[in-house]
Subunit: 217 residues, 2 copies
């Protein structure tokens, strides 16, 4: 199994956490430098025509892409510990929380979008950072409302079971830190992010712990 | 079961198609007018704090949100006809194709993003439409490459079985038409969209067939 990764990619972070939780170690981690635009070069576009990270190449050459699809695959093929509840409504809630992050928010602030804003609409650096903060804030507010008001929220997003929603929420927390969003107004979100950070599987997957990352300040 | 819907919402279109395919008819379809910003009003924000469509309220009052989470819920609770293959790698491919659309593309062109571009960055109507076309083109190119090069593509995205990927692809086709994208350079995408359009479950779910839609030109 080969993981195509970049230290800063939050979608890849999700897969790293899931691999750690499942006790699966890729044979190789291949760096695709997003800052240098390597994801748009032919070599990688042949692996993933969407030119996005992550991609997971299985031993038979099958390439999986899209972080949530990879998480579900890992959960189906390595069922312990499970990363989804068993009851359909609970599964739907976990997936919805995950998608509020991985569909409605993160795709808005990835490099290709920031670069298009800057290049095509001449939005300056301050404006691009405002964009990132704005969409983080919108999501954090909605996530806090959902998590704080639901009796299903426990130690983690869905009771006391760690799920893909926690993996996504934890990545959202890392993203919020990049964009210097204040997470203090979101106490439930912050509490769950802090719970996750205590776990070795999350700590080892952190962007700043990956090869190529700058030294933590 | 109550579906919160708007004729033009492509995420709601996905759920309408799935309900049709499963033979499930909501007891009520509640209109949330996106053009008038009703999704941001308190009444709806209490239903879905993300202030986005669709939402599906079950008979016990549970509210499901996020179209892909709803599709998986419907598939788990109404297994016939199945909308995902059974083999994990095939499921991962179907989910990845779906997410290329429902995560990487559609969230970029929804009303809240177009409104923020126009309001905050003073992008004019032409610029906002370019934005919509640009992200559609990026996705259509990647989808075509994936679908045209994979031996797993058949009559539909994954062999001859209709899946959530076809539902998402069909919605992408409707979106491409809104933004006047030329889909001729994407023959495999176009062929599958045309196959889906032949099916009653898709035709009945079309935005222009919903209450409140303008007359088709």
């Amino acid at each position: 199994m080969k993981l195509f990764s970049y230290w800063r990619s939050l979608a890849t972070y999700r897969v790293r956490v899931a691999l750690n939780l499942k006790g699966v170690t890729p044979d190789e981690v291949i760096d695709v430098n997003l800052h240098e635009g390597r994801q748009r070069e032919d070599a990688y576009a042949k692996i993933n025509p969407m030119k996005a990270l992550p991609a997971l190449m299985l031993d038979d050459g099958t390439v999986l892409s899209e972080s949530l699809a990879i998480l579900e695959y890992l959960d189906e093929t390595h069922p312990n510990p499970p990363l989804l509840p068993t009851e359909p409504k609970a599964r739907a809630r976990v997936r919805a929380l995950s998608q509020m992050i991985a569909c409605d928010t993160h795709p808005l602030i990835v490099p290709r979008v920031r670069e298009y804003l800057a290049g095509h609409y001449k939005v300056d650096e301050t404006g691009v950072n405002e964009w990132g903060r704005h969409w983080h804030d919108v999501a954090l507010k909605a996530l806090e409302t959902n998590l704080a008001s639901s009796p299903e929220t426990g130690r983690y997003c869905q009771g006391d079971q760690l799920t893909i929603a926690d993996i996504c929420l934890s990545g959202q927390g890392v993203g919020a830190a990049y964009f210097k969003c204040d997470t203090a107004p979101y106490p439930t979100v912050s509490r769950i992010i802090d719970e996750c950070a205590k776990l070795d599987a999350f700590a080892r997957a952190h962007p700043l712990k990956q090869p190529g990352a700058p030294a933590a300040s």
